[in-house]
């Protein structure tokens, strides 16, 4: 008996291994844990959030791979759902499609214009709670309804999401053309002491027409002085900053002279949108997002025009090559700015705070409205003082416009209060209230050409 027992004990490891293998094989072939695999999942590429009465209307653009041998066939569709929260709306989408809308690949969240009156973080709450949505997802606001925008055909790609992702790309961010942000950045800036955040503002237009009723090749910094975007306004307009504004000027090397923004278009092409959904025959749309929507305390405060957005991008982002327009001696110059360094500093001097906006870059002539000689073409880096001054002036003007917007709308996009908290914590409680109105603003714009 003992021998039999020991024999069994000796064989026990083999028996256990066989049993485990049998169970694994069973699980392998049965394979039904209620998990959602590749056959059952839908790839949600983007979500659009709009208001529909009391509820939220969520539109998901879903990539639906079609059976094919070489995997070339992917169509897409838009499915909408309604609910009190984004989670409810997605649940409705699930019930409509039978696909579980995982947000693993959702890289774009669009917020419709009609959400202006809602607290931003009420809308985005779901994404911060969901374990599977990525904080790296891009967020943008759009003119009109987000759901409609997602349905528009575009020449750039067969899927609207991909088109929009292109204009929110890192490449454009590094050219100061767009203020690309993701969920993390928005939350960080909102939950900081500045309590403000921003996101790109997307506008669409039929190909060939300008966006938002404006002319293509729009110029900012005309000689008129216009108010910047108010809370209900739409479509930003440019302004030049001559003379005193809110906040004081100090330092700086600018001189008079208008400048204009080079219209760097992100869209081109004329092919219509491909794919399913009956989008054949619709006119292709172009998307631009050179404006920026601003939020303070989660509430929409306005849209920065292109000039203001440009200044914001110069200061906030790591810029590789930005193009700015300058006028000098009756000619229009497109100046490329490299080695760009934008900084904000808060200094306490004689009991008063000075907010310094510093910007330096190396300039290069990218284009000029005159026929140049080969010698002049070879001297792209050699820029006259006038042109440099005009460039500096344009940038300063843009920065001033931005500051004006921030002060007027009490929207601390530049993170001044946050700096006060981080560097002057002991003074924070004293100066916190109405801080933006109390500070002096200094501009230090250093543009240099080749020597």
């Amino acid at each position: 008996m003992k021998e039999k027992f020991y024999c069994l004990i000796k064989k026990l490891p083999s028996l256990v291994i066989c049993a485990i293998l049998a169970v694994l094989l069973f699980l392998f072939f049965v394979n039904d844990f209620g998990l959602v695999d590749i056959h059952k999942t839908s790839v949600v590429m983007s979500l659009g959030i709009d208001i529909d009465g009391e509820d939220l209307l969520v539109t998901a653009q879903i990539a639906v791979p079609q059976p094919s041998e070489n995997g070339e066939n992917t169509s897409f569709t838009e499915v909408s759902g309604k609910g009190a929260t984004v989670a409810d709306a997605l649940n409705e989408i699930n019930s409509k499609t039978g696909f579980y809308p995982k947000l693993l690949f959702c890289r774009l969240i669009l917020i419709g214009e009609d959400c202006k009156n809602k607290n931003l973080f009420e809308l985005l709450d779901y994404f911060y709670r969901n374990e599977y949505s990525q904080y790296s997802a891009l967020v943008a606001m759009c003119k009109g309804k987000a759901g409609d925008l997602l349905k528009k055909p575009t020449p750039m790609a067969n899927m609207t999401t991909l088109s929009i992702q292109r204009i929110l790309s890192e490449e454009l961010k590094k050219s100061a053309n767009v203020s690309t942000v993701n969920l993390k950045m928005i939350a960080q800036t909102h939950y900081s002491k500045s309590n403000a955040c921003y996101m790109p503002y997307i506008e669409s237009s039929a190909q060939g027409q300008a966006s938002g009723g404006e002319q293509s090749g729009e110029k900012f910094n005309s000689k008129q002085s216009q108010d910047s975007e108010n809370k209900q306004g739409s479509g930003g307009e440019s302004s030049s900053k001559q003379g005193e504004k809110n906040g004081k000027n100090g330092g700086g090397q600018e001189q008079g002279g208008s400048s204009k923004q080079d219209g760097g278009k992100g869209q081109s092409g004329s092919s219509s949108k491909q794919g399913g959904g009956g989008k054949q025959g619709e006119q292709a749309n172009e998307f631009t997002c050179r404006k920026t929507a601003a939020f303070s305390n989660g509430k929409f405060t306005g849209v920065l025009n292109e000039e203001q957005a440009f200044a914001l991008n110069l200061l906030k982002n790591d810029i590789r090559l930005a193009i700015v327009s300058a006028q000098s001696n009756g000619k229009d110059y497109a100046i490329g700015l490299r080695n760009s360094r934008g900084k904000e500093r808060l200094n306490l001097e004689n009991g008063a705070f000075t907010f310094s906006l510093t910007y330096s870059a190396k300039a290069r002539i990218q284009g000029v409205t005159e026929a140049s000689t080969p010698k002049k073409l070879a001297e792209n880096d050699v820029i006259t003082k006038d042109v440099i001054n005009a460039t500096s002036s344009a940038i300063k003007s843009a920065a001033q416009s931005l500051v004006e917007f921030c002060v007027k709308n009490n929207c601390d996009l530049l993170g001044v209060k946050d700096m006060l908290y981080k560097f002057y914590k002991n003074k924070f409680n004293v100066f916190e209230k109405d801080f933006l109105n109390k500070i002096n603003v200094a501009y230090d714009i250093k543009i240099s050409g080749a020597k």
Binding site: L25, H39, E69
Partner: protein, 475 residues
């Protein structure tokens, strides 16, 4: 005085088989001789030239010493008794009996049919020696002696197998090999009783305490240069008569990632190739598993564009991803096996069937997807970068596939941890299987995952605990 007929009868009563031939001849002087040998194994020409011809001159009164001196064969031994005569005859030698003499001779005539020395099919070298072992132990020992000429080279011959009486040679270099290792090996071989040893793989099973383990405990080689290099490092080599595969112990897993060519080419190139082999092995084992696990449990592993393509490819497939991969691997195994077994003449036709019909047509029919075919094919190719481990790695690939399809990516991790835990506790004659990584022996790492130059490898592997540690000295 022994009667010749009686002696012949005695031997034939033991060796009753009809291929045991008796050649009786008479010298010119009238002395009768009888040579008993096994047909097909003994070299009759040598018998005739070196034994029969010279003995024609024997006179009737010549004594045994004179007769022995007349024999021209260099391999002449005095016979002991009938049983030893039977053994020698079975071995391929001839027993020469003389009428009226109780003594007899054993003439070395062994020349079993066999291959010539050629490049082994399993270990091909672009640069380096191309000789390979054959099935004849004497040839193999000759190839070893050709390379290791030191008198310290010890070759101990033992017979294994009750019926086969297979010659097994244990080779080691005295003064280098760890003391007692060769004796331990011999003891492990001899304490097993078996009928027949058809191949060295049987001996390999004898050398381990865990013969059913997934991982072997002895290295194999078909090339004498590799064998000699390992023996000179301090290992014990085992040559088995009838098998071209030589064994060496102790064994480390990293040996299978080293090829002979690594030592003949530039060390930096050898390092790259070794790392490539390691990476290929990992890819070959894990790729099908990860592919399944990603589709079933974690699609985030797949980049979006690739996911859309894969999704598009698999969306029409009626089978679940795991069963699809299982079937594809099964087809691959069948093709693999059939290609080895099938006759040469139908090989081409069946290859076409395999490749086109089973591969291409199945994809067109929507039974399996293109990515599955690609992954399985690539995995198969990757595993063949380390051919010595092919049996282990193909089994592991199946295991990983089953685990990935049932438990998912966590199963892959757990199985990897389990295998690591198993490997780090296993030894081969006192040497841990995963040396020099665990335990970490920094000096031995120079010939581990990467290959240092020859002058950096002046000491023998520390883990082998050799008597003589230095193998390269610069004067």
């Amino acid at each position: 005085m022994a009667n010749l007929d009686a002696r012949i009868k005695e031997v034939k009563s033991i060796l009753t088989s009809q291929d045991i031939l008796v050649f009786e001849f008479v010298s010119e002087g009238g002395k009768r001789f009888a040579a008993i040998y096994a047909d097909g194994v003994a070299d009759k020409v040598t018998l005739g030239e070196l034994v029969v011809k010279p003995l024609r001159a024997v006179r009737k009164d010549d004594v045994i010493k004179v007769i022995k001196r007349l024999l021209a064969s260099p391999e002449v031994k005095d016979g002991k008794d009938t049983n030893s005569a039977v053994e020698e005859i079975s071995d391929g030698n001839a027993a020469l009996f003389i009428d009226g003499e109780s003594e007899f001779f054993i003439i070395g005539l062994k020349k079993p049919p066999g291959r010539t020395v050629a490049e082994p099919p399993t270990q091909i070298a672009v640069k380096g020696p191309r000789e390979g072992f054959t099935e004849d132990i004497k040839t193999n020992l000759g190839l070893i002696r050709k390379r290791i000429k030191t008198p310290n080279l010890q070759i101990k011959n033992i017979k294994v197998g009750k019926q086969s009486q297979t010659n097994v040679a244990i080779c080691y270099i005295q003064g280098i090999c760890k003391k007692g290792l060769a004796e331990k090996v011999e003891e492990q071989i001899l304490n097993k009783e078996i009928d027949v040893i058809p191949d060295s793989s049987y001996i390999a099973r004898f050398l381990t305490k865990k013969p059913r383990s997934l991982f072997k405990r002895s290295a194999t080689s078909e090339k004498p240069d590799i064998f000699c290099a390992k023996v000179s490092e301090g290992r014990v080599g085992i040559i088995v008569d009838g098998s071209p595969i030589a064994l060496t112990v102790p064994y480390m897993l990293i040996e299978d990632f080293q090829s002979g060519e690594d030592y003949y080419i530039e060390s930096h190139r050898a390092t790259i190739i070794r790392l490539l082999r390691l990476l290929s092995l990992l890819v070959g084992i894990l790729l099908p598993a990860f592919y399944i696990a990603a589709q079933l449990f974690k699609i985030q592993l797949i980049p979006l564009k690739l996911l859309l393509k894969i999704s598009s490819s698999v969306s029409g497939i009626p089978l679940s991803p795991s069963i699809e991969m299982f079937l594809t691997l099964f087809v691959l195994e069948v093709l693999n096996e059939a290609s080895i077994r099938m006759p040469k003449y139908v090989g081409l036709a069946l290859s076409v069937v395999g490749a086109l019909v089973l591969g291409d047509t199945a994809v067109k029919a929507g039974i399996i997807s293109t990515p599955a075919i690609i992954i399985v094919a690539f995995s198969a190719i990757c595993l063949y970068t380390v051919p010595d481990l092919i049996e282990t790695t193909t089994t592991l690939r199946w295991l990983y596939l089953i685990v990935a399809g049932s438990v998912g990516t966590f199963g892959i991790v757990l199985l990897s941890a389990l295998i690591i835990c198993y490997l780090i506790s296993e030894r081969s004659y006192g040497v841990p299987l995963v040396s020099p990584f665990a335990p970490l022996i920094l000096s031995d790492l120079k010939d581990g995952a990467f290959k240092s130059g020859i002058f950096s490898l002046s000491k023998r592997p520390k883990v082998l605990k050799t008597q003589n540690k230095v193998r390269l000295k610069i004067k």
